[in-house]
Symmetry: C2
Subunit: 204 residues, 2 copies
């Protein structure tokens, strides 16, 4: 019998260093895969369908979204484009025993938790609000949103940190990578319980 | 405010490789300390009072044990000697923010869980009963107990594995050390909750 994979959620405000952290973790973490999202946005140069995103027509996205129950574990509209995590793909890979990592915001994390209350959620924090402000300012010229808006959004996201299972502070990158990796390894060693408290899987 | 330390329990049958694993972990895990037990057994050559054990007269041990509530988180009689984990020492170091590791058997683990239901318990398993039998046979000449008795006790202990939070299989030592270390790190990142679900400590 294949043991079902675990569903991990990573959230963190813009400027928390999430992308770097995920890239570093996935380089060296067999059995953990990143979930490929659906989007109605057009592919950018170099982006491949099925690798970076499942590029989806708006009508098809809306049909999937409005199924009962929804075909998306979570979905959101960002800058006029729709983004969503498909249930079928995630469930299929979990059934195969693969652990899945979702990179979603606090709203998306809440939606996922409603459908899958066994999801393990990790919130990535900057070491301080000052450090976050400095990182955002450094990037301010590269991005569409204004510095002030991004900082305000980050502040709002930080207030949701208490909803998460784990809190990971990204002060030193190496320490954060080790912490993230440790969470994945430890969760694999944690005994999963049925509602009556008995373990899901017996070893002996 | 100092954040209270966490209490870790490690159990595992004779032959599971527990001593080696603990030594390897403690070499390189700041903030985690081994609890020094009380015993009525006489010191062996090289053993220091307060380092290896608190060597205690039987009358003093019994007085501590029979306090209400007991002065021991757990205690046991082994080969006619009494062994116990003192509440005061453990609580004092937890209050100082130190994480404490207890090396106790399944009976002791149950006693501790009754007093401290926030203790994090780890059960160390051999990779298989055959592997355990081989390890015990190899040591059979060195130890007081007979091989058959030790194997029977190990079998009994293994049936208690489902009571533990984590199950760590000692197949490859390096993998087990990494797993053990990951559990400690991940638990430090896990948000602790008050009975109403609110986090014990706010970061922001």
């Amino acid at each position: 019998m294949t043991v079902q994979g675990r569903l991990f959620i990573l959230s963190g405000p813009s400027g928390s260093g999430k992308s770097t952290l995920m890239r570093r973790l996935l380089e060296n973490m067999p059995g953990l895969a990143f979930s490929v999202s659906h989007t109605t946005r057009k592919p950018r140069p170099g982006e491949e369908d099925g690798v970076h995103y499942h590029f989806t027509e708006t009508a098809a996205f809306l049909a999937l979204r409005d199924q009962q129950p929804s075909g998306f574990l979570e979905w959101a509209e960002v800058h006029g484009n729709l983004y969503g995590t498909g249930v079928v793909e995630v469930e299929k890979r979990l059934q195969q025993g693969m652990d899945i990592l979702l990179d979603i915001d606090v709203q998306g994390a809440r939606q996922v938790q409603e459908r899958r209350n066994d999801a393990i959620s990790i919130f990535l924090c900057p070491p301080s609000l000052d450090a976050l402000a400095r990182r955002l300012r450094r990037r301010a010229t590269e991005k569409e949103e204004s510095y002030a808006l991004r900082l305000e959004n980050a502040r709002k996201e930080l207030t949701c940190a208490p909803e998460y299972t784990y809190l990971l502070v990204n002060d030193q990158l190496e320490t954060a990578v080790e912490g993230f990796r440790s969470i994945i390894i430890a969760e694999r060693l944690r005994q999963r319980r049925n509602p009556d408290g008995s373990p899901v899987q017996m070893v002996w």
